[in-house]
């Protein structure tokens, strides 16, 4: 079957939050039918590669089928946290949309 590459942004929404030096990003597909596909494609390995410049020391993806989404946790990704980071975005708040730039392969009969 032909496949189509789209940014995650086309099919999901996200919000980032911080605690100390830890970044979390919630991720929800608009269409609940896409949940399994995201579970397959938005893997911790791909997240690590996508966020390599932030040098997270570990990545955990919590799968939340009842809430219809995922919680992605990147440890030590904020340059020390909001009170000591030298980053422009010390909270990492903008990074939800960095996640949403990740390319996702859709089957062509999938609704976007």
């Amino acid at each position: 079957m032909a496949e189509l590459s789209v940014p995650l942004h086309k099919i999901a929404h996200a919000r980032a939050g911080d605690k100390d030096n830890r970044l979390n990003i919630s991720l929800f597909p608009y269409d609940p039918a896409h949940w399994h596909m995201l579970a397959k494609q938005v893997t911790p390995e791909r997240i690590r590669e996508h966020f390599s410049r932030r040098k997270p020391t570990s990545i955990t993806r919590h799968d939340l089928p009842v809430l219809g989404g995922f919680n992605i946790v990147l440890e030590n990704a904020l340059g020390g946290g909001v009170n000591s980071s030298l980053y422009l975005d010390a909270h990492g708040k903008c990074l939800s949309f960095h996640l949403l730039s990740m390319p996702i392969l859709l089957s062509e009969n999938c609704n976007v």
Binding site: H13, S26, G69, G81, L86, Y87
Partner: protein, 412 residues
């Protein structure tokens, strides 16, 4: 009415202000309360707020004064004490647990809902807190009204979930949500703050006042449910460990959403505290470039700064190209698209132990006017002293919080 106004950054700033002789409560307390005090006092609407920050008693004093200035009657004021763990039995435990050996300037434990409930039980109309856990601001009044048991974990979980979705106010009513053309939010400029109703059995309904902008949908609510969450099965608060994994969110009408299914487990034996240290001086300076070859001129400026700072031996620094790689670094060196970037801003950030050293670094950006690439402009500087922070766990029994009736006479 609940005011959640304190973050890791704002509490550290309040501690710093207090150290420098300024008020330790949030300076915006007056602006927050002025428009609502009369209505609240005349309608029996009680107010709970963590705007006390580093000095809740001083905030009470200012509120009493404000009521006087507005010609209002004296409200019954109370504050929550005990989050400060610099002294007393908690201090030893703090010193043992902390990793950072720099000069400790403040340490506050995240305390729970009990003291807020106690203040309300005692008749307080305005309860001012410092560092309490954010959801406790909602759980306190719920415990006061429903008299749930302090070990009724599922009820405590429901009250905590309620406080958690409220804690960033408009972030649950369409704030921090809009993505034009993708997920639009109506009338953001007049966004309404959330109203929560909660039943005795713990079902929460989130809505907002009619005639306000924003929206309450399953999506606005679920983004907030996971906001600042680590493990959704174990959101640890001083009152209960909340399990969010089976929370069900459902639309119950226009701009009305219900949440149910929060589960709770026994509260932790330790409390989280934030230790604040002298973090030195944090400086930022920026300069802009636009037009043809802007990125290359910006990169040249960055290289110059890098080499100057090495010469000056200021190693704690970073240089970003805002508009290219300052945040995500996702703009991977594709020369064609980089050549089309219409304007960029070069940003230097430094941390130094003294103000003078930071200023020397920032002056290097100013120098780019004369000694840097062509066409730089719009230099701005920003230099602040900061406190860095570290989370520390302290045995719960060493932290004793309680409600204190505010007595104007004893506080001048």
């Amino acid at each position: 009415m609940i005011y959640e106004t304190l973050a890791e950054r704002t509490l550290a700033q309040a501690q710093l202000r207090l150290m420098n002789g300024g008020p330790g409560y949030l300076p915006r307390t007056e602006a927050f309360l002025k428009p609502v005090l009369e209505i609240c006092l005349s309608h029996g609407i009680r107010i709970i707020g963590n705007f006390g920050a580093a000095d809740p008693a001083a905030a009470c004093s200012r509120i009493a004064q404000l009521c006087n200035e507005l010609g209002l009657r004296k409200p019954k004021l109370a504050y929550v004490a005990g989050d400060n763990v610099m002294d007393g039995p908690a201090r030893n435990a703090l010193d043992k647990a902390r990793m950072d050996q720099r000069e400790l300037v403040a340490a506050n434990a995240y305390i729970g809902a009990a003291s807020i409930c106690e203040a309300l039980d005692d008749g307080a109309e305005i309860v001012v807190t410092g560092r309490v856990s954010d959801p406790s601001l909602a759980l306190g009044p719920l415990m006061h009204v429903f008299k749930w048991g302090w070990e009724d974990w599922d009820r405590l979980a429901a009250g905590t979930l309620c406080g958690h979705v409220l804690e960033c106010a408009a972030q649950v009513t369409g704030g921090y949500f809009a993505d034009p053309g993708i997920k639009d939010v109506p009338d953001l400029a007049n966004i309404g703050f959330p109203v929560a109703e909660i039943s005795r059995d713990g079902v929460i309904t989130i809505s907002k006042p009619s005639g306000t902008g924003g929206c309450v949908t399953v999506s606005t609510v679920r983004e907030q449910v996971l906001y600042e969450i680590d493990d959704p099965a174990s959101y640890i608060t001083p009152d209960v460990v909340l399990d969010l994994t089976n929370v069900r969110i459902a639309e119950a009408g226009p701009d009305r959403v219900t949440l149910s299914g929060a589960k709770g487990r026994e509260k932790p034996r330790s409390l989280r505290a934030m230790a604040c240290y002298k973090g030195g001086w944090f400086g930022e300076a920026e300069i802009s470039y636009t037009g043809p070859n802007a990125v290359k001129r910006g990169r040249l400026a960055a290289d110059i700064l890098d080499s100057r700072l090495r010469k000056l031996d200021i190693p704690q620094n970073r240089v970003d190209l805002i508009g290219v790689d300052a945040i995500s670094g996702s703009c991977n060196a594709d020369p064609v698209s980089l050549a089309q970037v219409p304007e960029i801003r070069v940003r230097l950030a430094v941390e130094t132990s003294t103000r003078e050293r930071a200023q020397i670094a920032l002056d290097e950006v100013e120098s780019l006017y004369l000694c840097g690439p062509a066409g730089g402009g719009g230099v701005r500087n920003h230099l602040v002293e900061r406190l860095s922070s570290e989370p520390v766990l302290i045995p719960r029994e060493l932290v004793t919080s309680h409600a204190v009736k505010f007595d104007e006479a004893s506080h001048g």
